[in-house]
């Protein structure tokens, strides 16, 4: 753990973009910053890059103050969600641009160039202008430019969000392969999509309204979201949350729905809780009845928004299923898959036993 962020705060007028961010990051590996739009992801990345100066707080690497170093001497690479390349330069000149002042010998430059062009399959495009490339190719050029130089860390700000679905899938895998191949480089990757964080592996940092909600291994954050915010952000569709009670050895959701007490709730005392269940873990068929409010077919799955006695339930089922709005349905909420959060602090108090 070598990067220390201590109480970093970024304000613009009365808008708070980062609110006392304190955490430590390793000097290698992949960190995925996940949060909704405007959660402060871009701001955090720009502070790391040296493009935004925080109002207060410190950023150090092995004890050395990083904030004193301007962006142009900080040894970072950054890839934006917009495809940013130098419009007046060819792909080749774009890629070697960061090496211009490094004092490298032409042979060394050529070697680095051929390494990254091969890595990203850009060899046939070297003489073109960025505007002649497709979005995916432009983003590859941007990544090549940030990989060509020796950097301490590499920042990627939702790099795939403006690409179409197929390209996104392909580049995700490519990116993961590249990121995990570099040993002395910390990759910070921001996204709104939990799936991307799972694919990138490594650490996950959940950011919400400028504050760090949770940091941990991607599997841990998935299995044990620290609170309802993390549970909402790190699940897609967001985790269903309902107010309820534990009473007399039973789980009550809303006023009418009563479920069996699962084993992992054994330590919980009676009282009010917030219960959560993933959309993919609620199942069709059963004794709780409701109506279809909305049905969307989403690739290979169907997402149903259901009006239930205890509120709105989002349920994701495999395959394409046709439901008319207003159809009656019945569902089961498997007690073993329930999360429980404290009703006041909204912190996790019990999670399903992982499999």
């Amino acid at each position: 753990m070598t990067y220390l962020l201590d109480n970093l705060t970024v304000k613009q007028g009365s808008d708070i973009h980062l609110d006392g961010v304190t955490l430590s990051l390793p000097n290698a590996g992949v960190v995925t910053v996940i949060g909704r739009t405007l959660a402060g992801k871009t701001t955090l990345l720009k502070v790391l890059a040296g493009l935004i100066a925080p109002q207060s707080g410190s950023l150090t690497k092995d004890g050395a103050d990083l904030l004193a170093i301007p962006a142009w001497r900080r040894r970072v690479g950054m890839v934006y969600q917009q495809f940013v390349n130098y419009p007046h330069l060819s792909v080749r000149d774009n890629i070697v641009f960061p090496l211009k002042r490094s004092g490298l010998k032409p042979a060394a430059v050529a070697e680095k160039l051929s390494y990254v062009t091969e890595l990203l399959g850009l060899a046939p495009l070297l003489d073109r202008r960025p505007e002649e490339l497709s979005g995916g190719q432009q983003q590859r050029v941007a990544l090549a430019r940030s990989l060509v130089k020796d950097t301490d860390f590499l920042l990627l700000d939702e790099p795939l969000v403006n690409l179409d679905y197929k390209l996104r899938e392909q580049l995700r895998d490519e990116f993961r392969r590249i990121f995990h191949a570099s040993e002395n480089r910390l990759v910070v990757y921001s996204t709104t999509e939990p799936l991307e964080a799972m694919i990138m592996q490594g650490l996950v940092l959940v950011l919400h309204e400028g504050e760090v909600v949770q940091v941990g291994d991607y599997r841990d954050v998935y299995r044990r979201p620290a609170n309802t915010t993390a549970a909402t952000i790190f699940n897609d569709p967001p985790m269903n949350l309902f107010g309820g009670r534990i009473e007399a050895g039973q789980v009550k959701i809303g006023d009418e729905t009563v479920l069996r007490m699962p084993g992992h709730f054994a330590n919980l005392s009676d009282g009010k809780y917030i219960f959560g269940i993933r959309a993919s873990e609620a199942v069709m068929g059963g004794i709780i009845t409701g109506r279809v409010a909305l049905a969307e077919i989403n690739g290979s799955t169907t997402v149903l928004h259901l009006d239930m006695p205890f509120g709105n339930l989002v349920l994701e089922r495999e395959g394409v299923a046709l439901h008319a709005i207003g159809d009656g349905v019945s569902v089961t909420l498997p007690p073993a898959r329930l999360f429980a959060f404290d009703a006041d602090t909204r912190n996790l108090v019990a999670a399903p036993v992982s499999d």
Binding site: G50, A53, L67, A68, I69, P70, A71
Partner: protein
């Protein structure tokens, strides 16, 4: 932070300093001069208090030049707006015409005003110019274009209209071309005729750009003097003399520097106040009407 201040100043400071030195300093200096009796006989910065300002309050020629300027500027800009809008409406749907008309319209606004004024003066020459040739062709008596106060004012306005209607036209055409189509279609579906569609849809949507174009033109028109100087020299008598022209005569002809400075400052203040009021009023009536 990061020594950014250095770079910030590097970019801004040269231009800012030049502007301060060449514009702001002279302006402040003029204010100071306006409290002095500087003239051809006794040049120098003495202090005579508000004497010059007292004098200008009673200077009928100055106030007449201001109201004359107001009349010229407002009527010229009004005519330019109506003509420019009309022409823009005529061509905005036809790409075929647009390019030819556009280049034809760019030319007047780009050509040197005084040089064109020299040509216009020959056009309106009473016996040798084509203007009266055209008038007599239609069976009217020749018009004393430059020797009659009203006609001379008309000529000055006409020349301004010739030169600056294209400016209105280009701005309003750009505005029309950027209008969303949906509201017009909706109006057509509702059965609105072209005239009602214009008043209910197009005109309100064009209000902001109209206000902008009118204000820019009013600012420019309030400086009218060069064309007057060339075409009528303020005459006959002082009947086409604008404020700028009068100040010029007092300051750089008669060398009553102190008095001319007081006149310029008064003129500048009145102009800024009036233009601000007009801008507010236009914004209120035109843009509010939309809501």
């Amino acid at each position: 932070m990061y020594g950014l201040t250095r770079y910030k100043l590097f970019f801004l400071l040269p231009g800012l300093l030049v502007l301060l030195a060449i514009i702001l300093f002279p302006l402040i200096f003029t204010i100071r001069v306006s409290f002095s009796g500087w003239d051809a006989v006794r040049p120098g910065l003495d202090w005579i208090g508000g004497v010059n300002y007292g004098r200008l309050l009673a200077d009928g020629r100055f106030w007449q030049s201001l109201s004359r300027l107001g009349l010229m500027a407002v009527s010229a800009v009004a005519i330019e707006y109506v003509l420019g809008f009309g022409l823009a409406l005529l061509v905005w749907r036809q790409i075929r015409f647009r390019r030819l008309v556009r280049v034809l319209f760019l030319i007047p606004m780009m050509t040197t005003p005084v040089v064109m004024a020299v040509i216009w003066r020959t056009v309106f020459h009473e016996s040798l110019g084509p203007a009266n040739d055209l008038v007599t062709l239609f069976g009217f008596a020749p018009i004393p274009w430059l020797t009659n106060a009203q006609w001379a004012t008309f000529v000055v306005i006409l020349v301004d209209v010739w030169q600056w209607t294209p400016f209105m036209f280009l701005l309003l055409l750009a505005g029309l071309l950027s209008l969303p189509r949906e509201p017009l279609l909706a109006a057509a579906i509702d059965g609105a005729g072209p005239i009602r569609a214009f008043w209910n849809v197009t005109f309100p949507a064009m209000a902001p750009i109209s206000v902008g174009a009118i204000i820019i033109r009013l600012i420019e028109a309030s400086k009218i003097m060069e064309t007057v100087y060339v075409i009528t020299s303020g005459g006959p008598g002082t009947s086409t003399e604008t404020s700028s022209y009068y100040i010029f005569i007092r300051g750089l002809r008669d060398f009553q520097i102190g008095y001319a400075a007081a006149l310029s400052i008064t003129y500048l203040v009145i102009m800024i106040v009036l233009l601000t009021i007009i801008a507010k009023l236009l914004t209120k009536t035109l843009i509010k009407a939309e809501a």
